[in-house]
Symmetry: C2
Subunit: 314 residues, 2 copies
């Protein structure tokens, strides 16, 4: 659906700021609590937080993260889910979201309504109130940045550091082909899985896969180690190449390090009991640097998504 | 300073994502704590919060909130201070900021460095770590959205609701002429003043003046009342017209309602002891609707800044 219209009466300009904000609150519906816990005051005033706060921000930008081929409701849901995936990667739970919307005057009200209704449906599904925001105009733009406040759901937040040489590398779900398959907007953020993993001390480090496994894994790799990944262990989406599984990105799966001495069979059994429908794959381990065993992939050959370099929507 | 350059070697593309993020962390310096409390993990993990959380988001957009005439360091500082003003308006204290940056490939590294160094200086001055963010590309764009997490600094956050007919209307500092005077980027957010006011139960409702007093006051006005403001009581910046003082906006001062039965002289004396250099003006009171006393201004004649209607940088 095209986000821009030539007909002023169908564009956001037809409403002006005050009525547009009222419309946004109507579109958000039950996802938008009344002020001061929601939209309408200088800040949202939230209930006292249990657990350490987590804070993250991610945008969706027309021409970059979506185009006219993605349904606007899916764009709205994706904006929230991208950020939920970051909360999931720490093992946290989401608390509240605020959104800065930037739009051209020609943005169609119909597009925007579907965007907010899609966002609201995702917000209700994952229990995240949309508590504030800002609407600003910019020529030619259609972008929204969502900041998400979360909290650690247990005694710890799992960071990217903490893996050791010898640790096993696991990934949830399937990877690769995320754009063509529509997974890049249809995915489910791994909130329950992340919280479950955070409660297991043998899970040493974790992150979500957004720029591709090859690039993202560098962030988890301990000093003096390198990831030893086998191509045939990669849980590839049907039809996805190894290159896509390692470098396309937007998988929004969790990748984590399991302590070398952890009991893998028992760990995998309890995973299957907790998440019988979510695949969990051990794709390799952290080998000593420069000692890549034969038959394993050299990840340096798969650069992953590099922002400010390549083009194309994502 | 022009934010765009034709020379690739001087643009953000020359660095690419990884080195650009490293440069941003260097430019932020001491304002950017190490992960997981800062940039570099999926979320920032913050210390346990005392007080109820406050959450807000506001952008700065090239061509809208600034242009090439505003020094980039001032743009960076303004981005943070706009949000600090919202925290001040609740009587809160800031905790941590995250930033979503959207830029064209031609944005000059030199402009961006000055922007982040100005932001860092303001972050250090107001004690707000910059704990995370995102960098994304968009053709022709230069915009940043900053989300600010704060906390109530005392037993309550002061909202926009709570004023009653008869309450006095006060405003801090000077209003009007904010663009021409440079106040729109040189202002000081009223954090200490807001926290002080929040500790006084006679302060019933409060907000910051961003769209102009005439428009913003509507938000504070209780049902069945209207603001009765006298032109000669307005603390106008030198040379500012009444229309500018009421409708130009970007004053970033606090406007609040003081209970009708509060002792004004004692209140004003304690203000002067606490803030000897910050002017405090009683500009009128909330009169019964339809009973505007003679000699008072009809605020309906001053529309204030309406987003998605007018042009010009702000």
């Amino acid at each position: 659906m095209a986000p821009f219209t030539r007909r002023r009466s169908r564009s956001v300009t037809a409403l002006g700021e005050g009525r547009l904000i009222a419309a946004i609150r109507r579109w958000l519906g039950a996802a938008s609590p009344p002020p001061p816990g929601g939209i309408g005051d200088d800040c949202a005033v939230l209930p006292t937080l249990r657990g350490r706060p987590l804070l993250t921000i991610d945008p969706v930008i027309y021409g970059r993260h979506f185009d006219a081929s993605v349904p606007p409701a899916a764009v709205g849901a994706k904006l929230l889910k991208r950020n939920l995936s970051d909360i999931a990667a720490m093992g946290g739970r989401p608390v509240a979201a605020v959104i800065a919307l930037t739009l051209d005057r020609r943005v169609s009200l119909s597009w925007l309504e579907k965007f907010y209704r899609g966002l609201a449906a995702a917000a209700l599904r994952y229990g995240v109130p949309v508590v504030g925001g800002d609407v600003a105009e910019a020529d030619g733009a259609l972008a929204a940045s969502l900041a998400l406040l979360g909290a650690a759901s247990g005694p710890r937040a799992v960071t990217r550091t903490g893996a050791s040489t010898g640790d096993w590398i696991y990934v949830t779900g399937l990877v690769g082909d995320s754009i063509r398959s529509g997974h890049h907007h249809a995915f489910t953020p791994r909130l329950a899985e992340g919280a479950w993993l955070a409660r297991r001390p043998a899970v040493r480090a974790m992150m979500d896969v957004s720029d591709g496994l090859a690039k993202d894994l560098r962030e988890l790799t301990p000093r003096g180690a390198q990831p030893a990944i086998a191509a045939d262990l990669l849980p590839r989406r049907r039809g996805a190449s190894v290159a896509s599984a390692l470098g396309e990105g937007e998988d929004y799966e969790l990748v984590f390090a399991l302590a070398a001495r952890a009991g893998r069979p028992a760990f995998e059994r309890s995973w299957r009991r907790a998440f019988p429908r979510v695949r969990l794959s051990c794709i390799g381990r952290f080998a000593p640097a420069g000692k890549l065993p034969p038959g394993f992939l050299d990840l340096e050959a798969f650069p992953g998504y590099e922002h400010l370099r390549k083009g194309g929507p994502r």
